[in-house]
Each structure stands twice: as structure tokens, then as C-alpha cells.
Symmetry: C2
Subunit: 784 residues, 2 copies
Amino acid sequence: MDIRKQSIYPVEVWDITETEFKKENNYRNETTFALSNGYIGTRGTLEEAYAFDIDTGLEGNFVNGFYESEKIRYGEANFGSPLWSQSLLNLPNLKETHVILDGEEFTMEQGKVEEYARILHMKEAILERKLLWTSPQGKQTRIHIRRLVSIARKNIMAIEYEVTPMNYSGRIEFMSKLQADVENHTRKTNPIVDYGPFGRKLDSDELRADGDILYYEGTTQNSHLSVACGSSHGIWKDGAEQKNLEWKSSVGELEAEVVTGIQAEKGETVVLEKMICYTTSLDLGKEERKSFVLAELERAQEDGMQKLEKWQKEYMAKFWEAADVEIKGNEALQQGLHFNLFHIIQSAGRDGKTGMGAKGLSGEGYEGHYFWDTEMYVLPVLVYTEPEVAKRLLDYRFRTLDQARERARILGHEKGALYPWRTINGEEASTYYPLGTAQYHINADISYALSLYLQVTGDVEYLKEKGAEILIETARVWADVGSFAECKGGKYCICDVTGPDEYNVLVDNNFYTNLMARENLRDAVGAVDYLKEHVPEVLEHLKEKLDFSVEETVLWKEIIEKMYFPYDEKRQVYPMDDGFMMRKPWDESKIPPEKRAWLYENYHPLFIMRHRMSKQADAILGMYLHSDLFSEEEIRRNYDFYQEVTLHHSSLSTCIFGIVACEIGYLEEAYQYFSQSARMDLDDYHNNFYAGIHAANMAGTWQAIANGFAGLRCQNGRLKLNPVLPKEWEEYRFRLKYKGSLLEVNVTKKEAKVTLLEGTEASLLFRGTEIRLKGEKDSYAEEI
Amino acid sequence: MDIRKQSIYPVEVWDITETEFKKENNYRNETTFALSNGYIGTRGTLEEAYAFDIDTGLEGNFVNGFYESEKIRYGEANFGSPLWSQSLLNLPNLKETHVILDGEEFTMEQGKVEEYARILHMKEAILERKLLWTSPQGKQTRIHIRRLVSIARKNIMAIEYEVTPMNYSGRIEFMSKLQADVENHTRKTNPIVDYGPFGRKLDSDELRADGDILYYEGTTQNSHLSVACGSSHGIWKDGAEQKNLEWKSSVGELEAEVVTGIQAEKGETVVLEKMICYTTSLDLGKEERKSFVLAELERAQEDGMQKLEKWQKEYMAKFWEAADVEIKGNEALQQGLHFNLFHIIQSAGRDGKTGMGAKGLSGEGYEGHYFWDTEMYVLPVLVYTEPEVAKRLLDYRFRTLDQARERARILGHEKGALYPWRTINGEEASTYYPLGTAQYHINADISYALSLYLQVTGDVEYLKEKGAEILIETARVWADVGSFAECKGGKYCICDVTGPDEYNVLVDNNFYTNLMARENLRDAVGAVDYLKEHVPEVLEHLKEKLDFSVEETVLWKEIIEKMYFPYDEKRQVYPMDDGFMMRKPWDESKIPPEKRAWLYENYHPLFIMRHRMSKQADAILGMYLHSDLFSEEEIRRNYDFYQEVTLHHSSLSTCIFGIVACEIGYLEEAYQYFSQSARMDLDDYHNNFYAGIHAANMAGTWQAIANGFAGLRCQNGRLKLNPVLPKEWEEYRFRLKYKGSLLEVNVTKKEAKVTLLEGTEASLLFRGTEIRLKGEKDSYAEEI
């Protein structure tokens, strides 16, 4: 990890500004300025559609859940190896827009860019670009482009393109394109994946241009999914729409365009309003798609950019009201936090059919797959800030239970469900099981997030309708995968799994896995007990649906009681797994610096797994999540131990270490870790931001403050806060939703305070004191 | 394993006879009747070249070491994953011969086969086929075909084709073909390998037919190896060669043929003598190949079939003299033993450039790769019976030390050599490292075989020239792969290896591996000590060549002393590895019978490795090889333990259990195991003989008698015998070469006797008594 001393972008609390266009920064900036609404994702590419090569740019437009498959080939295939890949597919681009200014086409590659700014307004989820450009022939033009992906209208992206001739009058022509000759660049963004949808994978079903409308429909070659998309256009001048303009169109095999023009006097502003719509066969049948797209475009055109921007701002205002974390004392960290929260909220699938990729919808990295990142990093943030979105992400897991059941059978479990390590459509897509399917902890991760959601929201309906089924089905796999081992005093052992730490694979008794499995089982027992007592008819229904017997919980309880954990008597710590202490000491001095961050690209897996070191938070993550089960002293010993052996070669690591450092009073270290997490992507510490955001770390930053500095936990049905203030700050403040109430936590150098902003009451443990807030604005404070 | 009650072929001590041609048995019989000389291998296909489909036949002609490569694709490639495959390539077929009998072509698919026998004469290494055939038009002909692959002439295969019209006179035409339109069937014979040289991989450089000569030269597309081959033909009648016959020839793009004919009177025998020659760019340069082939063909034609047969018989007579094991009391087992020994001796590479495939040269199974089978199963037999051949196989490993050094670097070892798990050209070809490269024990296996060779032959020159370098280089990897682990009392632990048991992968402290590694180190220390004392100049040379310091042996000695072995206190046994006792008990009743033998094809690897069971002899193999280091009681306890958990899903398992059963006096069980091993391939217990022989088990059968019933060991430089007689037998007898002498062991119901057949003296431990035989025919006997 390369921690930069200088920030890449100017430090501004609510904006990210690119002050100069440089080709060498383009690929990374495409991710920085990516926009999404959890359904459509579009990279921050430019309307001029420059011909970048594979190292400098990637036009990218995605629809969540829309993937293409390729037959995967293996050196040696194992039984149960996925046969077809799933890759988030790069879809036709509709942003492309050229303007011809009195005969000269605008391009930054010619003439002179006199003024330039591209600004991501995170408060509003609007991307803006402002230019003053002098053409080769000396004509000066102001260009002002605003872009949004509408959160209110999931199928709509909008672009407003304003042109003002500054020192001339002339004809302004707009040429808007639909480019369907697109393909993925997967190999570039993830070199160890050796397949991927190379070449064009969408076969064109329809491509047309009518008046100001462009329309495309195409179907993938293997996954047989269809996408329909189009754009519509309106021209405005002097605040009036120019309805009678003639649009010329042309249609090629894979691209189409519409062109129009209008006379503009010097100083007069001409505006193109361009609405873009995407839908797919995942939502609509063949007969409905075209009329839907055309109707959505018409509606968007009627509403206009102004209304779309208004809704966008309203939504974001509500989001920030609950989710914002205000820091006084460090604007750079404040900016990083906003950047991270902004990207999470815009990336989360919110239709219940889709999840959230480890890279959101910001690039092709990890093939757009959903991992545990969603449940363990993103969901805990959304549960407190946007519980409705959290619920929809859980819905996605519920929807894919059947595939998880099928997967459990393939793995030899007669009952239960095993969630896939990587997926889009719910089926396992990991092609290297030691780092994929062996990560059984995904089951417990999903259950953990679900339980947290239930505890924090109190949404009992969800438990009844969906939650209990997930908990029972995941628990069943835990009850089958291990066994009570005589050689371990009859304790329950789980062998041959990979924990979160991907440098120690196929281990026995991974501490994190065993801990999380036990809690998964405990939550499942709790769910069954609850149903039995309160809604026996739901339990009856599940017994029938799942061929489930309450008798199964007898074994579950025995496992809960007898779960085995590796323990090192001498150091009094929990080694990551049974064999961890036996491994060769890691000697970093033998690893050339340029190879350190990418061990898997430079060393054989056997070399890596043979050493006593850890890629990322593993046991420590478990101790954070279930901190109530360990003494502070115990956590400190383990933290000290893992601090020594952890390389933080995953973006998922530092935020967790920071949180645990808070727990044990290591504020200095916590602050260092937090600082790294907060600006990791914005300053591109991993040098791979071009491939997409690191959603988990972004969410981890919020956790680092709320769960770290403020000591937020919801364990055993009880909300806890234990705030401290890093000495570098004056004050911080954030809000959280809890069982329908909205609380604010405010920590200054003098006091720590919690206020009930909305709702009638809230009980919680505040710095060890049981408190109860009643009525709005009721608050409780302690000196610190 | 399907143990047949009825033998497939008639029980005959020295022959294997197919009494009737049935298409459904063809694919298997092609392996049964395969011939080889360790250089050329040819499957027992028929001269008529019937058009069998992929499930009923595979024409196969191979040259040891000649492979084609394909780019391997991985779902996710790891650093160090081989990028190019190596597959023994199926070469142009020259056996194809058609005879036209007075206008009617001989084919078993028409007319009537009145008499039929195909006989493999194992004593002579000659394959014979005898037919009496009546054509559709009623003409009766005797056909008699003899085939051999010459051991005296490594490039030559010969066919003698006799035709006798029985009830007619007419023209007999011979059409001999060269068929270069050949390709491998790898996918069929090893379904979990997902690449392989599909399609034709040889590009034709030259194809011609001149007079009675067919000639072909071609080059592979990726490995860029060239093969040259051809055939020559002579016609004989009435004992005289018919020199003036006209040969017509035709040459197509990928096939060529020569045709001639001659009048035969009723009862008169016409003979085609066909010589076939193969050579490759591995032996000869481009300029030499053609002239070499033509010269070899001419020489073979001059020598004629008779001389080739004579040499073949002479060689085999000498081989059997040393290697035969005579059993009185069970002809079926005797036949199985002969079959097994025959296939081993004919399959072993003997030019020092090639090894021996796990399937010999009998088929495409395992892509023709060399594994540990050679060193641990075949070499111990050859060391005692054909030490020259054993030495040439060791030469192959010496020749490929550079590739092994390169591989060690890839695995992160700064010094030493790591041999490949699977290979042809010396580079690692295993594409799934948990079952491939992780089997580090290959290093110790090669060193074990080498040490055994040195002890049994006393070939000190070999130690100096090649052996010491192998021992030092392999030892260095053992000294680097593990570490002294505090949590194991400072013992030396080796993590993340796979032992011989392929159902327990990537384990810590595999008992077999740790044991064999320690002995590898011990042998290396011994070699260094020997050189230091006796030939310091050789040591100096090695120090320079290998950048080796004698100081390194300090660490080696510490490791030898402190090697860790997993131990179960309660059972007083050595578990296979650290985690073995913790695994789930195996419940065979949950596995449908049809899935039991092929777990990897029906179950996910995680399911398999999670259970407490074993595919094959693992710890038990180590205890056999180093039985002097364990008490009988200890071995018995471990045998009893592993007996319970071993599934014998490898052909390498039962022979070893049989040997150890002898060691501990379990004669009944030993006999059962031996019987399975002896007839495993001949009766096709594994139902996959079509893909090629199981060379390891074949060799294991000899070991089951010599090392099993006769208790043969050579440990710590000392030869030992401890014979017993299974109650089912009257008597058995075998011979062995020891330090230049030839010994015979003869065990009857009354006595066990050892005789010095050749040589001046031999010292050994016989049933615990130190004896010394002096002078020829000196013998020692004890009542039993």
C-alpha cells in the first residue's frame, strides 16, 4: 500500500475536483467520477469518447445483475467446479456526444483548454464538467456538462450539455451516438482470471434511430440475457425547447447516431438535454422492453433535467442526514469519508434482485462479482443509515437460497444452503476453490448481517418472512461440515476451510470461521425458539418447506457448546487456525519491495501458505464483531499478536484493525489505520482504483468511526456506544437509525453526547451506563 | 475395485490368450497386448485397422519422451502454474496392413472366423495372432501374424504376416499403409484433465512411398519435436524372398501406401515381413533422421524376423532368469505375476533420456506422464533384477536436475531442486497443485530409489558422478521448506504438503513426507561424508558447481534429529498428518456403490478431504520402506489403524498393505492383498485398463513376494531376508542381484533357502541370522 503524502484532488469537504485533464490519470479518474444508482453504473468517461487504449481508459456502462458467461476451462477440473463464468457485462454506451461549433468539433486534443474543472458533487450525486475552450481557429466556447444517474428513476441516466459561443456566432451541432461495439477488458483488470467475456458478446437484435430517439436491443451469446436501451434528446435555447428542429439519423451495424443543429449568437447558450434509459430481460419480457424504454425516455424528457436534479438532491439530502459523519479538525479525512459513503450508497442494489459488487458498478474488477464484502462491510453501515436498502440487499440473498441449497448438495451436504463465494446470479462463480468455495464463512457472514439488521431495526416481520429460513438453512451446513473430535476433547472441529485471510488456505479450525459458525447456529436456535413461541404457524410452514425438524437444534446447541477454538497457551492468544503457529516465520527482507503487495502474482501459493503471516484481519475481525464474548485484555493480546503478523494486503484489513485498536485504547494506532482507510481509494493507495472502487473499505471507514471511535455495537439485542475522540480532532458527529428512531452521537473534546433526534424512545448502554432517551431531542452526555 | 471371480483370459503360466475376437473387449485388449521396448510403444491394435469409435478402440503408437504441448487454461492461474501441457503424442501408425485374398479383402467383420487365437508370449515378448478365415465367397485362408518391438534394436518394430490359401489358389495382395492422420484421445482416458492435444498436432514435413518403402517426417505444432518413421517390406514364398515384385505406391496428404501381390497355390504360404522404424529429434538432428531410418530399415530387413525373434528371446530369457518369480500352487497368480513383470520390463525407458510413464507406453492415460510410480514401485524391482535399466531411469532424473532446480526457485527455495510431480520433459506438468506440486515427497522418493540402487548394487561410481548431486540438491529443499516450531517443542515441521494419499491434501506434517524427508537428508549427509573421506575432489567440484557448503549439513543434521511426527497418544499410532484424527468419520453407507471408486469424479474435493479416510497406503508405505526404524508392535498397531480407514482407491495401495501384513505376520490378509495386486490389471479390476497399464501395481506384485513373503529389505547397507510361505502355495522361488552376485531364494513348506547362484560371496541377514555365502552354489537353509 502506497500512502501518498499529497492528496490527488484538492481537499474539499463535499466535492472532488479534477482541475486539469491529463490522459495519464484518465483511467483512475473514470472510477473516481463513476456514477450509479445501484442499477445503472457508468464510469466517469467523457462525452467526446476519446480513443483510449487498454491502459488509459475503459468506457463502461453496466446494469446490476446483467452478466455474460463463458465456458471456464481448467487445467484439471474438480467435481463441482463452476462450468460457466459470470461477468458483469459492459453494455452499449449512450453518453457519447459530439458538438460541432461553427464547423469545428470540440475535442480537448486540439485547440486550447483555457479553463477546466470536473467536479463530483457528492452532496447531490451530480457530476459536472466546465470548460472554456478555444478552437484551433480561435473560436472560444464555454461548455458545461451535468450528468446524473437517477436514484428516483432506476432506469434513467441524464446529461445536460450547455454550449455558449463566447467570441463568435454560428451553428452549434450536436451529434449523439449509441455505440454497441463494446466489450469487456476483464483480463487487464484481474490478471489471475484467465477467462472472461473476450470480444463482443452482445448480439444485436435491433438498432435504430428515429427522430431524436436512439434505440438498441441485444442479447448475450451465452447467458441469453437481453438489454434494451435508448436515448432521447431535446434542444433548448433562451429557456425554450426548440421543438421543430430536424434530426438526421444514421444507423450502422453496431452504432447509430442522431444529429441536429441550431444557430447560436455570441453569448447565447444552447442546451442539449439527453435522457438515457436501460432495462433488461431480468425485469421485463421481450414484448414490454421497447415500449418501456420509449415511455421512460418520454417521461424523463417531460420531467426534464431540472426535476431529475431536484429529486436527486432530495434523496441525497435525506441520505446524508442519516449517514453523514462530520469531523471537525481534518478536512482531508472528511472528504475521504464523504467520497467513501457516496460510492457505497450509489452502488448498492436496491431492487431486491441484485446485490452489490465488491467494486460496486464502477468497473469490471473482480468481474462485478458480489462477495462477503456486502454483508460484512457495507450492510452494517446501511443497517444504521439506510435500513431499507440493507433489507433489499438481504432480499437478494433470500432470493438466491435455492441456488445455495443446490450448491450445498454439490458440496455433499444433505441439508441446508451454502452461499457462493463469488456470484452474480446466485450460483458459485469462484473457479479456484481454495480461495473460493472453501470460504464457508460466507454463510455465517450473511447470517451475521441478517441478525444485525434484525437487531438494529427490530423488523420481526422480516425474520418471519425470510430471515428465519436463511438462518436455518445456513446453520444446517455448519452442523454437517464438522465433527466432534475425540483428539480435541470432543470439541466440534471444522476442517478444510479458508477463513477471510486468503494467505492461509484450506486450514483446520479457522478461528473466525468457528466463531462465526457458532454464532450463526446460535442465531438460528434463537430464530426457531422465537417462531415456536410467537408464530408457531410460521415454524410449521418452514418445517414443511425445508423438511426441517426442531430436533435438529439439539445438535446445534451441542455444537454451540462444544465449538473448538485453537489456542496458544504460551502466548495466550487464538492462532488463526490449528497450523498457524507452526508455519515458517515470514522474512519480509527476502521479498523485493516491488513484489510485496502482490504476493499471489509473484509467489507460488505453497510458498505463501507455508509462512506465518496474514493477509488481512481474520481472527481480529471475529473479535470485533463479537467483542462482547472476549475480555479487553484478551482482545489486546490478540491484537498485539496479529498486529505483528498481518501484512494488510487486502483493502479490507486496516479499517478492522482500527476499530479493534479503539476497543483496547490504542488510539494512536486507530487513528493511523483510520486515516489509511479514509483516503485509500481517493488517493489510490493500492494503485488499482482504475479497476473500480473498494466498496468494503469504503464502508469500513464509516465503521471505523461509528464502531471504532464511537464504540458502536449491537450485540445480543443491545445497542452500545463507547465514544472516544482522537486527539487530532475537535469534534465529530454522526447519526444512526435504531428501531425506527434516529439518534445523533456527538463527541467533542469535552463531552460525548447522544441525542434522540426522531422517535419516542431509545434504550442503550452508553459508556457502560444503561440510559433511556424519551421524546425528541432528549439527550444524554458525559464528560470525557 | 471389482474383483472378478472368473479370469478374463485362460489361465496359462506364460501366455495370455484371446480366444475369440469381441469388439466390446477390444479397447481393453489393446492394452493387454501392447508391446514396447521402453522406447517405442504400440497398442495391441489389429493390422486390419478397423474403424473403432472412441469407446471401443484407440490406435496408439508412441515414442518415449515424445510429447506435444498445449497452452493450459485455468479458471484462475496461480504463479508457477505450468503454462504448457506435456502429452505423450500418438504418432503415425505403420502397422496397418490389408491382405486381399484372390480379390476378397480379409476382415473379421465379414465372412467367418473359423479359428481364432491371439497370444501374448510373455516369455519371448512376441505377440502372435492365428486365424482360419472363410471369406464371404467361401475361400478359406490361414493367417498367422507375429509382431515384436525389438529390445535389441530400440527403433525397430517388426511384423511377420503369413497367409496360406487353404481351399483355393489365387493372387495374394498386401497393402501396407502409413497413417499420419492420428490424434490423441486424452479427454476420454482422463476426464478430469480438461486440455490435451486435441486434433492433429503433427504437421507433415515429408510423406513418401518409394518401392516397398514408406517414409514420414513431421513436427509438432507447439513442442516443435520432430518424428521420422518408415516401413520396409519383403515378400517370401517357399522360403525364398521374392525380390522382383513390383510395388505400387500412392501418397495422399496424410497417408501413403505400398501394394504388391503374388500368386499362391492352395496350401502354399506367402509371407510379408514388415519392418517399422521410429526415431525423433530427441536423438537425431534434422539431417540425420531420414538416412538413419532408411538404414535401420534396411538392416532390419537384412537381419529378418528370425534374427529379431532370436535376439528378443535371448534378452527375455536373461531377464526372466533374474526376474522370474515361480509359484507352485496357483497358476492364476503365476500368470498375473508374469503379466505384470512383462509389462514393467518392456515399458522402462533405457536410454537415460527417458523415464517410465505410470502407464508405460501402453496408452494415453495420465498423458503418458512420469510420476513417483517409477521410483517407488518400479525401480525397487529393477534394482534387484535389471540394475542397468534402473540406472538408466535414475539417469533421467539426473539429466533433468536443471529443470528441478528451476522449479525449486519458482516455489521460493533459494537453493536445491524440486522434482516435478508429473512430467515428460523434466518440467512440472501438474496443473492442480494440491494434487501435484504439493507432493513434495517426490524429492524423497527419487532419493530413496537412488539410495536403494547404491546400496544394492554397490555402485560407488554412480554416487560420485551423479548420485551425490541429486541427494544434496533434494536435501536442500527439505532444509528450506519447513521450520522448527516452538509450538511443537522445537521440532521440525513441514506444512502444506500432500502425501501419497491424495484424499488428504495440503496437510501439515504428513507422516510419510516427514519420514522420507528425514531419510533423504540422512542419505545426503552420508553422501557428503563419503565424498569428504574418499573422494574430496568430487566434493570440491560439487561445492563449486552447486555453490554448496558443508556447513549446510549442520542444519540437515539438526533437522534429522528434530523431525516432527504426528502421534496419537491414545491409539499409539502415527496419524497420517496433524489434522487427520479430527476429520469426520467416513460413512461409506452414504456413498452410492457406483460412486465409491471414483470419489473425485462424484464429490467435491472439500467433501473428500474433510473425512477421515485414506485413498491409499501413505504412512504404511513409509513404515514398509523404513521398517528397521519401527518395532513390529508399532507397525502392527499402525497397520490395524490404517487398515480400517484405507479405501484402496489407488492401484498403488494393496501391494503395500500386503507387504506390511507379511511383516507383522498377518499372512491371510497378505495373501488376499497379493492376490488382488497380482491380477488387478489382467482381470481389469479398476475397469480402466483400456487407458493403459498400472505399472506401479505391476511392480508392486514382485515386491509383494520378494519384500512381502520373503521379507527382502536392504536398509542401512544391509541385505535382509525373512521368508514365509503362504499356506495356499507349495513353494516359491525368485532371484535377485546383489552387489554383482545373483542369489536365489527358494521357500517350500519345509524350508527357506538362499543360494548364491553367481558371484563369489554375499553377506546377509537371513531370518535374523547373519550369514555369508561363499562361492557359487553355496546356500543356506532353515526349516520353517
